[in-house]
Amino acid sequence: MSASTPKTLSSSGQKPIQEICHPLSAAEEAVVRTPSPDVANNTASIEDKDLSLPNGTPVDTSSPASSSSLLNRLQLDDDLDGETRDLFVTVDDPKKHVSTMETYITYRVSTKTSRVEFDLPEYSVRRRYQDFDWLRIKLEETQPTHLIPPLPEKFVVKGVVDRFSEEFVETRRRALDKFLKRVADHPVLSFNEHLNAFLSSKDLNKRAGLALLTKVGEGVKLVTGGYKLRLRPLEFAAMGEYLDTFTGKLGTIDRIAQRIIKEQTEYLAELREYGPVYGSWAGVEAGNRDNNAAVGVEEDRNHSSSGHHSNGNGLQAPLEGVAGGVASVAAAMEELTEDMSQDFLPVLREYVLYIDSMKNVLKKRDQVQAEYEAKLEAAALRREERTTVPSDVEKCQDRVECFNADLKADWERWQNNKRQDFRQLLTNMADSNITYYQKCLAAWESIIPLLQERPADSFGRGQDKVI
């Protein structure tokens, strides 16, 4: 790969990447430590360059917008280091808007940043789903070699779900928040001008309109690749395999979680019938006691004959206590199932979308490589006189290598995010269950003293019956 490559990176059928005067280009050293250990399989050619990443991938300084030219701020370890972040975004405060044409929900998008690309240090705008969709499309267009995080589904397939229900809106808000955060945390995507516009512009409407048209074009681009891939490098093949297996496991977990929710719901239904029976029984005992009192039978003399918690009869209070305990368990179980439905399942499902995005990027990479191989072959057949490789083939090779580098970096980031996301998800699941049992424990423990209340001993009957 030659040291002087053209300013724009041409690619088949894609719009040229808009050049931005990037403050970080060229001036600074690329200080990178790639976390990926499997660098050995890097197929890009290693050549001496002024600027190159430690793993040997050439840094393309000519095109500021590609990751290789930037300060590639790969997140190093598990937890995102707060100190290196200078862009914070939040999606919250959903509100319903009723206009003449339609009803929709908008969300507040808040930004805090110290980056110079932004005019102000803080922004607060309102955006609707359409706008997020527009942003995503723009990102895919302008950063074809990168993994763009997915958005929640636009339309709800289930049909019965109310688009404006609290649960649905909240679930969606969380997904949108996650999307934006992932973009903002990405070392390349976060500098995208469209993101900037999304976060800062008061009015996105006009641009949003174009999104619908370009979306159609998007699909076509992938298909027109059409080249056959000779040999997929092992590491990318491994990625593909991993994604397939992982998808399967997620599907299984989803099914299990659904089944658990179903079983718990049925358990809940039975509990709701169970508790009141103890209450009825308490009533039977109370009725009996009253009758005995009415016919003047002397029962336990050492208690006051007042109200409900009189333990003269002995059974009424314990029965009501158990009824209460069961009711508490039912309430706690209801909350647990809600948690799982609201928090666990949606996040799990959204990951499938994330996997799909990754798979798409892998496909695109394959396409680019296939194109390169085809061109290389064609050039070889033409038996050109030049000793050097023709420029268009060179360009392809560049693209392949860039793509591979970007992809590997994104893959590592994706794996890291995945690890954190699932750690969070599963920990939350464990917490929900712990909370459930703690509530139940508290309820039963509070009942024990009630159950053990005794009248001042009237059991002097002398029967030691031990079972």
């Binding site: 019938e273 009825s280 009758n291 690890r419 424990l441 039963w444």
Partner: protein, 438 residues
């Protein structure tokens, strides 16, 4: 798996020493002839249903019959023999023999709320429990139930000193003959008939009526409780067991992960443990259900005592009515007036008065009958009073026992739930630690 002797429950019953008067009373209470042998009344006995075994024999019609027998061990439990721990006496009994013993009690002591036997067939099952009588778990629970029955009887002031009971515990052979000799079976049939008959009592003792009503309600509510509880158990089982699937999928998933692998794998094991823990939980709850069932079956005995009171009351009222009718007849005969319209009266009017001799004869007969009737009424009154007194004291005793036992059962149920919650917290906390290491 047959009942394991390791888990035997030995109970020591304090059987009060019997005064000579009480001994006599007991003899009177038993039906018919007492055995020829000396009555050796136990002072204190340890009773234990230690084992259960299957037997297969050819029965009367030469067909193979399989049934279960239970080993009853008895041992005197004096303070003197405390240290020595002598080997127990033992014999084998089958369920049907227990049933005979109980039938005998019902006939011999109608004022006693006779303890119930464990159920003949498994009811209120949830799906995991087999409804098969030969199922080892069912047999084991029945063994415990039979032991419980014997302990209840042995701690009952009246039943414990019955000699038929004593020989049930000590004489393997000959017991059946002895009990049949009491002639209780004939009485059992007529008793059943009487209890099931419908009759109206004019002045029932309110307490018994209320107690019968209570018994009905208690039976209904406990049945309902047991039914729903079985369904709850079934559902709980489902919830726990499905979590076991997490164990498998986490294990598979960990295989394709690098850093996450260990955490996932360990968490999976905890999920397996969680799923497995429900078996013990539900087995303990089964014991609670058995305690409820005992009192469910007790309601029948309670109701029987109340019905017996009704019967006696009815007979008393019938005797009183009979007497007053006779007295009325006497009066009519004496005064020659017909108070109420009767066919006889009409006949007399139509066909003329009776001769003085015939009238004398009739008077004499009536006098005799009235005298008999008065004596009978007096007896019935005494019987009724006696019954009311002893039965009500029995009922009081039963009520106290019921309140005590069921309260204990409810407490132990709450404790079971607490234990289950603590286990749940433990497992999920362990899993959470594993997730944190991912």
């Amino acid at each position: 798996m047959m009942a394991d002797t390791g888990s035997e429950e030995v109970a020591v019953i304090g059987n009060t020493d019997l005064t000579p008067g009480e001994i006599e009373n007991n003899i009177k209470n038993t039906m018919g002839e007492v055995g020829d042998e000396e009555i050796v009344l136990p002072k204190k006995m340890e009773i234990n249903v230690a084992e259960a075994e299957k037997r297969t024999v050819k029965n009367a019609v030469n067909m193979q019959e399989t049934y279960t027998v239970y080993l009853i061990e008895t041992r005197p439990a004096d303070d003197a023999s405390e240290g020595t721990n002598p080997t127990p006496d033992s014999l084998w009994r089958r369920y049907s023999e227990f049933e005979i013993l109980r039938s005998y009690f019902l006939v011999a002591y109608p004022h006693v709320v006779v303890p119930p036997l464990p159920e003949k067939r498994a009811e209120f099952v949830w799906h995991k429990l087999s409804a098969d009588n030969m199922d080892p778990d069912f047999v084991e629970r029945r063994r415990v139930g039979l032991e419980n029955f014997l302990l209840r009887v042995a701690s009952h002031p009246i039943l414990a000193s019955d000699n038929i009971f004593y020989s049930f515990l000590t004489e393997e052979n000959g017991w059946k003959e002895a009990v049949l000799e009491t002639g209780f079976q004939a009485k059992a049939d007529s008793r059943l008939k009487a209890l099931n008959a419908t009759f109206r009592v004019k002045n029932p003792d309110k307490r018994f009526a209320e107690m019968k009503h209570y018994g009905d309600e208690l039976q209904s509510v406990i049945s309902q409780l047991l039914r729903v509880r079985a369904r709850v158990a079934d559902r709980l089982y489902g919830v726990y067991k499905v979590h076991g699937n997490y164990g498998r999928v986490f294990s598979e998933w960990s295989a394709i992960e690098k850093e996450m692998g260990d955490g996932l794998q360990s968490a999976g094991h905890h999920m397996d443990a969680y799923a497995a823990s429900v078996d013990d939980i539900l087995e303990e709850e089964e014991h609670y259900a058995d305690q409820l069932k005992e009192y469910l079956f007790y309601t029948d005995a309670l109701r029987a005592v109340c019905r017996k009171h009704e019967l006696i009351q009815y007979e008393l009222e019938a005797a009183a009515t009979d007497l007053s009718t006779k007295k009325q007849q006497q009066e009519e005969l004496a005064t020659g007036t017909v108070r109420t319209f009767s066919l006889k009266g009409m006949t007399s009017k139509l066909f003329g008065q009776e001769t003085p001799e015939v009238r004398e004869g009739k008077m004499k007969v009536l006098e005799g009958q009235i005298q008999e009737g008065e004596e009978a009424l007096k007896e019935k009154n005494t019987e009724c009073d006696e019954f009311v007194r002893s039965a009500w004291s029995e009922i009081e005793r039963f009520k106290d026992q019921k309140n005590h036992d069921l309260k204990e059962a409810l407490i132990s149920y709450a404790i079971m739930q607490i234990s289950m919650c603590k286990k749940g917290i433990q497992v999920w906390t362990n899993a959470k630690e594993c997730f944190n290491k991912m």
